[in-house]
Symmetry: C2
Subunit: 225 residues, 2 copies
């Protein structure tokens, strides 16, 4: 059950809600829920896949795909106001992969259960249109990730990842383990450690336990030209 | 303009056509076109991107994505009856990448122009639903390709690619250049040549000019376990 403030927040990001009939509206209000997750916590994994539509109230989530061999690849990030529909894949015809979510910062999220969303989308063309647009948006993001995978070597991808993190955190001193970077880029920790060591020797960054300090963002940027 | 036989063929694969109103129906009949492409010919590239919905009558097409640096990655193949909607990306909201098509065998295709499709989808919920299902299906295929990229090394991917080609061609003797394999897997020709040489030395295949003969499909299969 969502309260009025929560519902007002959601309406900003699901604009079609204003066009729903009163009973459909109540339906979402009653079925929706709110939850808080602390940094590092997995929100959706194989145990509770296809939970439903996730709307981020605050914080930062990482949406990732897990290959059969356990390797992870980050697909996109969700910030306040972002909506994730791939976590409702079971009600999306022909989407046969699962997307996992993890809190990268302390986060608050709203959840609309998959079954509720599915029923609404079947009845209401606005909801279906919204679903289609969300799926297409994520598809485009995934193609972007794929392009990075194809056209950049791992060193360039590490540099780009560190610069992205630095922009997100608004800091050149990043709390990051080699394992976290490996998971984000779908490779092994050893590969990342080797690249980081190389970049450190080159004077581009400084490594310490669980922390990476970017010393020369200009040259890190130039790696991707 | 499509004749009756052509239209009957298309209706089998675009089932919603039977539910359209007469004028919408005529609209597609008049705007649709048919074309033949010989093996190796590019059907859609950057010059004429976003042509529209492609329906394959006969032959085999390769749908691929071209990264900024020119590297290609094969996303999926289209055989008789298959429909490609990503070639109409300009009328799909939020799809901001382009998919190219190339004839891998002599092929005949039908084309419904993007603008015509866009107008229909705006008016008719069945067309919109069909679009959503097609987009989702391709999204799932792309995720599968990405999983291969993340969880397999290039040697395994080459082996899997050769076995796929062998199944498609129903032959162990494949007309394939190293460059073609490189383009399919989004890597450099040199990388592929090295791997093929290694597999040849190992007795798994035999290389000759423009041709690869698979000598031990059992062991090629085992590489992917």
């Amino acid at each position: 059950m969502l309260n009025k403030d929560d519902f007002d927040f959601i309406k900003t990001y699901l604009p079609f809600l204003n066009q729903l009939e009163k009973e459909e509206y109540r339906f979402i209000e009653n079925a929706g829920s709110k939850a808080a997750y602390s940094q590092g916590k997995t929100i959706l994994d194989h145990e509770n896949e296809c939970s439903g539509l996730v709307i981020v109230k605050s914080g930062q989530l990482r949406a990732f795909f897990e290959a059969e061999d356990g390797k992870e690849i980050t697909l996109y990030r969700l910030l306040s106001g972002d909506v994730c529909i791939l976590t409702a894949s079971c009600v999306l015809k022909n989407i046969d992969f699962e997307v996992m979510l993890e809190a990268e910062k302390d986060s608050q999220v709203f959840l609309i259960p998959a079954a509720v969303w599915g029923k609404l989308a079947d009845k209401n063309i606005k909801v279906k249109e919204f679903s289609m647009e969300l799926v297409s948006e994520r598809f485009s993001e995934v193609m972007w990730v794929m392009e990075q995978m194809v056209s950049k070597n791992m060193g360039q991808r590490v540099a780009a990842f560190l610069l992205d993190q630095s922009a997100l955190e608004k800091s050149n001193s990043l709390e990051l383990t080699h394992d976290t970077i490996a998971k984000n880029l779908g490779t092994a920790r050893e590969v990342i450690s080797r690249i980081l060591k190389y970049l450190e020797n080159d004077g581009l960054l400084k490594l310490s336990r669980g922390r990476i300090e970017l010393l020369n963002t200009k040259r890190l940027n130039e790696m991707n030209r």
